[in-house]
Each structure stands twice: as structure tokens, then as C-alpha cells.
């Protein structure tokens, strides 16, 4: 018989070691589908590693991929901390990107130190508003935010499509549904010559550290933790649950919007409906892998990005489907969830003939 006993206080090895172990196991488990596909396993792993870390270029690509994942991961982490189940980061990302394009493609102009903050603020505000609506519906009327935020993703995507066919359409695009490009003064400068990685990465890293400090050390972070862990006790002690939820919605939606700004102003340069290959959804996985820790989000975003970029380049080299990357990330999530369970509970295997 198997029994589970709760552990009173998991040690640091369990807290930090288990996610790393889980990620490793997930990568090793990828050998099974690789073998089924008839690929040379050792070589495939080698290609994956070199695809993500093999050169300055590949590392730059990996970091470019990690940038929006850090931001959407933070968006999910802060919302889930407060038990605000924001599944709408994808939509908030697109709204952020659209707001950035709206102000950053030539309507106004100025020096970079004005224009970059302007597109960032516009994008974050748009993302924040996208989540504040569903949050008010939740706190006022008890509408389930999982449903509203999830469905808003599709509404936003269709809205973006409409705008790209209409008001925001670039007349120079030769018919492609894409926006006018972000002007140079509003574009995020690259970090390295002739590489795609841009200052969005630095902004994401600073956001993670700032969020960690915010949650851990400020009054508002305190209230967010209290509301998330026990809303009844928080309310009893005089913390306004509604105000706290709206603050969380602004932060979470704002971070997802920032991811959109970073993609549009840093990586792509213009808005199109294929701007995000599901960064908003992947952010949920990133946050779960990081156990909702803002600093952990950096590590898990780097992991997820390396798997995606590495598996992409491997699949090109040996002709295995690049869906392998999704498989590894999904397995990593399962492993971390199981690992998280084992961190909190001790497992006992009793044999029937246990001594009395």
C-alpha cells in the first residue's frame, strides 16, 4: 500500500533540486520518441544542445525566444500567486503589441529615450486594461475569470486581424495583413551587432527582479500573498481583496502587454497575427515550472526557450518533427508537478507484511 504523509518543512535541496531534476528527466524521456522516430539519439541531443548554445548566433536566438517567455511567465506567476487565473496572457500580449504599434509607427515621433518608454507604457496599459475588465467581473459578479480571459484571447486575435485588414494596415505591405513598421526611434536596440537579441531581454530580467522584490518586501506584495493564500483571512484582517485583485490584474496584464511590446518593437518590427506562437499560453507553463517564483521564471523561461530553439534546429538537421519540443516542455511540466507533490508529501510503501 502507498501512503502519503505531508512534510512539515521541505529543505532547500527539495525546493531547488526537484525542478532541475524534473527538467533533466523530461529531456532524458525525449529519447523514447526520438528512438521511435528512428533518429540517432546521441547525435540528436548533441544537435539540440548546439542548436541552443552552439554559437553566439544560436544563443542569441535562444535568448530572443526567452525574452517574451520571461514576461508572460511573470504575468502568469503574479496572477496565480493571488489565485487570479489569468489564461488570457496571449490576448493581453496582442493588445500590448497593437497599442505599441498604434503609438510607435509614426503617429508621434521623438528621441528614443522618449519613444521607447511611450510604447512600453502604451502596451502595458493596454494589457492591464484587458485583464482589469475580467477581474472586475470576477470581484463584482463572481464571473469565472478562466472563462472570460480564455475567450478574450480569440476575440482579441480576431480584433487584431480586423485592424490589420483596416485601420492599421500597412499600405506598403503589398496586401499582407500587417501593420506599418515601428519607427526606428521606438524600436528596441539590439544588444549585439547583427544579432536579434535586444534590450527587451534586459527589461524582462529587470522586471523579474523587481517583481520578486515587490512580492517579497512591499506592503502590496504582502497583501497579494495574503489574498492569494487565504482570501477569507485577508478580508477579515482588513485587506481589500477587490483592490488587491485589481492591482494584480494591472501587473499581470501589464507584463503580458510588455511581452507584446518587446516582440513588436524588438524582434519583429511590425504587428502581424503570427506575432506570438502561443507565448501567452507558454507563460503559464513557464510560471508553473518556476513554481510561481519570479526569479525562477528566468530559469524556466531559459529552459523552455532552449528546448524550443534546440529542438527546432535538431529537427531541421535530422528530419524529426519539431513538435518534439512541445513534447519535452509538456513532460517537464508533468515532471515538475509530480516533483512538487513529492516535495510536499513523503511517500511510504508499506508491504502487507509490515511488522507490528
Amino acid at each position: 500500500m502507498i501512503r502519503f504523509e505531508p512534510r512539515s518543512n521541505p529543505g532547500p535541496f527539495l525546493v531547488y533540486g526537484v525542478p532541475i531534476l524534473a527538467a533533466t528527466i523530461a529531456i532524458l524521456l525525449a529519447a523514447i520518441p526520438l528512438a521511435l522516430a528512428g533518429a540517432p539519439i546521441i547525435q540528436a541531443y548533441g544537435l539540440m544542445i548546439s542548436g541552443a548554445f552552439g554559437s553566439v548566433f544560436s544563443t542569441s536566438e535562444m535568448l530572443t525566444r526567452a525574452t517574451p517567455l520571461i514576461l508572460t511567465g511573470l504575468a502568469a506567476a503574479i496572477a496565480f500567486r493571488a489565485k487570479l487565473w489569468n489564461i488570457g496572457a496571449e490576448g493581453q500580449l496582442y493588445m500590448g503589441a497593437m497599442a505599441a504599434v498604434a503609438v510607435g509607427s509614426g503617429v508621434i515621433d521623438g528621441p528614443s529615450w522618449v519613444m521607447i518608454p511611450v510604447v512600453i507604457i502604451a502596451g502595458m496599459a493596454a494589457g492591464a486594461l484587458m485583464l482589469i475588465g475580467p477581474t472586475l467581473l470576477k470581484t463584482r459578479l463572481g464571473v469565472d475569470e478562466v472563462v472570460t480571459t480564455l475567450l478574450l484571447n480569440f476575440i482579441v486575435l480576431l480584433f487584431v486581424q480586423m485592424m490589420l485588414e483596416g485601420a492599421l494596415k500597412d499600405p506598403m505591405s503589398m496586401g499582407w495583413p500587417q501593420s506599418e513598421p515601428i519607427i526606428d526611434s521606438a524600436a528596441f536596440p539590439a544588444l549585439l551587432d547583427r544579432m536579434r537579441v535586444h534590450i527587451g531581454l534586459l527589461i524582462a530580467l529587470v522586471s523579474a527582479v523587481a517583481l520578486a522584490i515587490f512580492v517579497k518586501r512591499t506592503v502590496w506584495g504582502f497583501e497579494i500573498r495574503a489574498v492569494g493564500e487565504n482570501a477569507a483571512a485577508a478580508r477579515f484582517s482588513g485587506i481589500s481583496v477587490t483592490k488587491t485583485m485589481i492591482l494584480v490584474a494591472a501587473l499581470s496584464g501589464g507584463l503580458a502587454g510588455l511581452a507584446g511590446v518587446s516582440e513588436v518593437a524588438g524582434t519583429r518590427g511590425y504587428l502581424a497575427t503570427d506575432l506570438s506562437p502561443g507565448y501567452g499560453y507558454a507563460g503559464i507553463v513557464v510560471a508553473m515550472l518556476a513554481r510561481l517564483s519570479p526569479i525562477g521564471v528566468i530559469a524556466s523561461a531559459l529552459f523552455v526557450a532552449s528546448v524550443f530553439v534546440g529542438a527546432d534546429s535538431m529537427s531541421r538537421a535530422i528530419g524529426v518533427s519539431s513538435y518534439l519540443a512541445d513534447l519535452i516542455v509538456a513532460m517537464a511540466l508533468l515532471c515538475v508537478l509530480i516533483g512538487g507533490f513529492l516535495t510536499r508529501f513523503r511517500v511510504h510503501f508499506d508491504r502487507k507484511s509490515a511488522q507490528g
Binding site: M1, R3, S8, N9, R217, T218, V219, W220, F222, E223, R225, A226, E229, N230, A232, A233, A234, R235, F236, S237, G238, I239, S240, D350, K352, A354, Q355, G356
Partner: protein, 535 residues
């Protein structure tokens, strides 16, 4: 085992259960240390002990949830032969006829009582359900024991007392010969408790053996035949109930003398809070008040007596700042309250002790220090520009831990590691440290052991002595009669005028709680219930 004092008329054939030398260690902690316990047919044995004395561990071993490190569990088979119970096998315990009623019921709320009882005893794959044999058997059980309950009602419509009856019936339906009840009266009103005891006595007369895990002494003295006392994992005493006395058992349990809480006479001062004609209508009686008038004065404990679910929750929510009246006024120190808000109330000298200390009183994953500071994190004392001053928060916690004797690994330990009594001390430390002018104590000692209870009473009396007004909402009449200066009775959302405790007759109070008698000095009809209304 031989030390067990049982009636000489009993022979060894009556022996049903025998635990011998049971020891269980969790790491360095010895939860059970060589415990011997016997139970005979038809006997009610009370297992007494404070929280953490090892009662629950012992019962978990009996049920096979834990495997004892040493010692044996022996149960008489249906043929009377003693057989060792297979350790670590709950099914073996069930097969041997051991039934358990947990403190927190394990019923499916949306199913009927009958469904709950037969659940798990019927084969899964069968086209038709035949409930008539089950009904007949249950009808017999109910008639014999007085365990009357409407089996066709969904469980969520039943009262707590009725749910407990369903649990007991569930055990008996599975042919239990030994019934273990974990803190059976913790959730019951005095009336419900009395009727439970009557049922248990009837069942015992038919040969059922009963173990009651408890920490309320008066009840144990009323119902049991024999008492075993655990302390610190060891059995420290065992006696026939007829030989036992209240004080000696309390001392055995706690291991030291229990201070008796007493009020010292004190003239009450100005009114601190006055509720005038307050009505809160929320549809059901549990959460409604109808035109109540309540005044609490400085240096006075005002007890609110009543059967659970008669509007206490509405009164508590109002005074805690979590709800506002539909009509009527609330005055604090003569000023009319316009802003009903928990934060404002807490900052204006109202100490609030919640009814459910786990649910409303603390955030388990946050530290002890953070939980103590939770009402005040926005005050300049604990933050600068929004950044928390953790030194100040920790310093306050260290003070509180020392002053209130909160047993915990330290200020940075998560609060969920604390026991119920220590959580209550933590809450007392949070709210009383600030010398409040008004204290709302909602069931402050419910579920606490004797030691922690007397600590709560001492603190409340101390605050009263210091001039605070205390509103004590309680279902425990002993508690109310011991420490209140005045007692008002709440029934169906109506509150009687307060009566001086010394002039109150206990049985009269009971009748008023049942809504069958109004206060003697009722000034008008609005504050009292109509006599025949609920009778």
C-alpha cells in the same frame, strides 16, 4: 492492561479490544509511549488529553492508518476469541467491527442520508438497487437507539447533530462493535450533546463498546464508565468515572494546576459600542438580525448566549466591520459609525477574534511574524514608502511569542505549523497587544484544550480589568457563566436585554436559548422573541 479498573462482574469474555504497550515514534518525537488500553463490551471509555497528547495517533494505529513501532492491538473476534489485528490494514479494522466517527464528517453532502450509509457496501455492477433490506435494518437500528434522522433528506439539509447521527448509523450499519468518536461534541450545542449521550448510553446497554476522544471534562464525566488520561504520549492515569473528579482530571491532563478564571468585581464605565435597533436581513436566520439593541460598556464582559446559527454570525460580522446594517445605528464611543470596513475597525481599537481561527484568522503559508502584523502592515510603524520593515515586524513577533507563550519554531516559521491553541494565542497577541477598547471574541475557546482555554479567559479578563469592553459570543454556557458580567441571549436574530450573570438561572437560560422564554425585563416586543413562535 491489568491495571485497567473495570467492573468485577465483567469476565475476560467481555473483553473486546486490548492495546498493549503501543509505541509510535515520529523522528525524535514519541507520539505514543507504551500505552495500554482495554475496552469491554457495553463500556464507554473516555480517552482524555490535551491537543498533542497522542489521542489521535493512538486511534490511527487502531485503524491501521499508522503502524505501531512496538506493541500489539488485539480484538475479540465475533466468536469471542482474541486475535491480533493486522497492523497497517484499515480493512482489517473495519472487518473486526471497529467504526469511527470523525470530528469532521465524511459524508457526501449532495446525497441522502440513506445513500451515504449504504455507499460502499453495495456491489457496483448491478442493474437494480434494492434498498428495502437496508431500510429495514436501519429502521431497526434507529428504533433501538433513538438515532432518529430523516434518511431521505440530502445531507446538506441536515443539522450538524443529524449529520453526526448519520455517521453513527453508517458505522452501526457496517456492524460496528466498537465505535470511536473523535471529539463528538465539539460541533454540537448543549442540547444536541445531551441527546447524543442518551443515545450512546442506550447503544452501550445493547453491548456496543464506545471510545470517546474528548477534552471537555464535564461531558466525559456525564457519559463515560471509565476514563483514561493521556499526556505527552503516555497514559498518565485511568479511573472509573464514579471515582473521578473534575479538578484532579484537569490536573492530570495538563500536568500542572489549572488556574481558575474568576471575575473580580469592577464597576462598568461608559458605553463603548451601542447597537440601536439594528436589522440585517440576509434571508436566512443564520445571517440575519432583527431590530437588536446591544450595549457593551468599559470594563465589562457581555456574553451572547445562543444555539449556533441564530444570528451570531451576523452580529460578529457587523462588529468586525465586515457587514453593515440595513437599518438602525451603531455608535462607538457615542459617535455614529458610517464606514463599516474591517481595516478602519481594526485601526480604531477594535480587537476581533474570529470564530474560525484557521479559516479567517491566519494565512498558513505566511510566517508567524507576518500573521501577527497582518492588520497593521500599512501603518508607518511597519513600512516605509511601501517597503516592509521586517526588523520591526520580527521584533513585534518575538515580543508576542514571549508574552503570549506561542509555541512555534520561531517568528519566521510558517503559521500552518502551529497547533490550534497556539494559533489562538497568535491571534490574541495580534489584537490584544494594541490595548483595544473593544474586543469581539467569537467562540474564542472552541476546540481548545483546558490549558489554552484558561489562557484565553485570563487574557479576556485582563483586558476587561484594563477597561476594555468585551463582547463574548459563545455556545459554551460554562464559559459564559464563568467570565461574563452580563449575558444576553440571541435567538432567531433577536437579542434579549442583557441580564447580570449573578441573577441568571441556568435552566432559564437554556429555555431562552431555545426561544421558549423571553427575558424578564423586556422593555418592548422588538428585542425579544414571541414565546410560541418557534416552540
Amino acid at each position: 492492561m491489568s491495571s485497567a479498573a473495570h467492573k468485577s462482574s465483567e469476565t475476560s469474555q467481555d473483553l473486546l479490544l486490548s492495546l498493549a504497550g503501543v509505541t509510535k515514534r515520529f523522528g525524535p518525537l514519541v507520539a505514543n509511549n507504551a500505552i495500554d488500553l482495554t475496552v469491554h463490551k457495553g463500556e464507554i471509555v473516555a480517552l482524555l488529553g490535551e491537543n498533542g497528547a497522542g489521542k489521535t495517533t493512538l486511534m490511527n494505529i487502531l485503524f491501521g492508518h499508522y503502524v505501531a513501532d512496538e506493541g500489539t492491538v488485539t480484538v475479540a473476534g465475533r466468536d469471542g476469541n482474541l486475535e491480533q489485528l493486522e497492523p497497517g490494514a484499515p480493512q482489517a479494522a473495519l472487518d473486526a467491527g471497529i467504526g469511527m466517527v470523525h470530528q469532521h464528517f465524511t459524508l457526501a453532502e449532495n446525497l441522502t442520508g440513506l445513500d451515504n450509509i449504504v455507499l460502499g457496501t453495495e456491489p457496483i455492477f448491478r442493474l437494480r438497487r434494492d434498498r428495502s433490506t437496508a431500510r429495514a435494518k436501519l429502521g431497526e437500528l434507529m428504533a433501538g437507539s433513538g438515532l432518529n434522522v430523516d434518511l431521505d433528506q440530502p445531507v446538506h439539509k441536515l443539522t450538524v447533530g443529524e449529520k453526526q447521527r448519520v455517521e453513527i448509523l453508517k458505522a452501526l450499519y457496517r456492524n460496528a462493535r466498537l465505535l470511536v468518536l473523535d471529539e463528538p461534541t465539539a460541533v454540537l450545542t448543549p442540547q444536541e450533546a445531551d441527546s447524543l449521550f442518551a443515545i450512546l448510553r442506550k447503544l452501550a446497554a445493547t453491548g456496543l463498546a464506545v471510545i470517546i476522544i474528548a477534552h471537555k471534562l464535564a461531558e466525559v464525566l456525564a457519559v463515560s464508565h471509565r476514563i483514561a488520561v493521556l499526556r505527552g504520549g503516555a497514559k498518565v492515569g485511568e479511573m472509573k468515572t464514579s471515582d473521578a473528579n473534575h479538578k484532579s482530571i484537569a490536573e492530570l491532563m495538563v500536568g500542572r494546576e489549572v488556574p481558575v478564571s474568576r471575575r473580580t468585581p469592577r464597576a462598568p464605565g461608559k458605553p463603548v459600542i451601542t447597537l440601536a435597533d439594528v436589522t440585517i436581513d440576509r434571508g436566512d436566520s443564520r445571517r440575519s438580525l432583527h431590530g437588536v439593541n446591544v450595549t457593551a460598556r468599559e470594563g465589562e464582559i457581555l456574553g451572547i448566549a445562543g444555539v449556533s446559527g441564530n444570528g451570531q454570525a451576523a452580529l460578529a460580522q457587523l462588529i468586525a466591520g465586515l457587514d453593515k446594517p440595513d437599518s438602525g445605528t451603531v455608535e462607538i464611543f457615542g459617535e455614529k459609525v458610517t464606514k463599516f470596513d474591517a481595516h478602519t475597525f481594526a485601526q480604531n481599537g477594535i480587537a476581533r477574534i474570529p470564530e474560525d481561527r484557521h479559516h479567517d484568522g491566519m494565512v498558513g503559508s505566511m510566517t508567524v511574524a507576518e500573521n501577527i502584523a497582518i492588520e497593521d502592515v500599512r501603518s508607518p510603524e511597519y513600512q516605509k514608502l511601501g517597503f516592509l520593515d521586517f526588523d520591526a515586524i520580527r521584533k513585534r513577533a518575538e515580543h508576542a511569542i514571549a508574552d503570549y507563550d506561542v509555541r512555534c519554531p520561531g517568528p519566521d516559521a510558517p503559521a500552518r505549523l502551529l497547533s490550534g491553541g497556539n494559533i489562538q494565542k497568535l491571534i490574541l497577541a495580534r489584537v490584544l497587544e494594541k490595548s483595544p477598547k473593544l474586543i469581539l471574541a467569537n467562540q474564542p475557546s472552541r476546540g481548545l484544550d483546558v490549558g489554552a482555554q484558561s489562557e484565553v479567559h485570563r487574557r479576556l479578563l485582563e483586558a476587561r480589568q484594563g477597561g476594555a469592553a468585551v463582547i463574548l459570543i459563545s455556545e459554551d454556557l460554562d464559559e459564559l457563566l464563568t467570565i461574563s458580567d452580563q449575558i444576553a441571549v440571541i435567538h432567531a436574530g433577536h437579542i434579549t436585554p442583557a441580564m447580570p450573570t449573578d441573577s441568571i438561572d441556568r435552566s432559564e437560560l437554556g429555555l431562552m436559548m431555545a426561544g421558549q422564554k423571553t427575558a424578564q425585563h423586556a422593555p418592548d416586543g422588538t428585542t425579544t422573541t414571541n414565546p410560541g413562535e418557534t416552540a
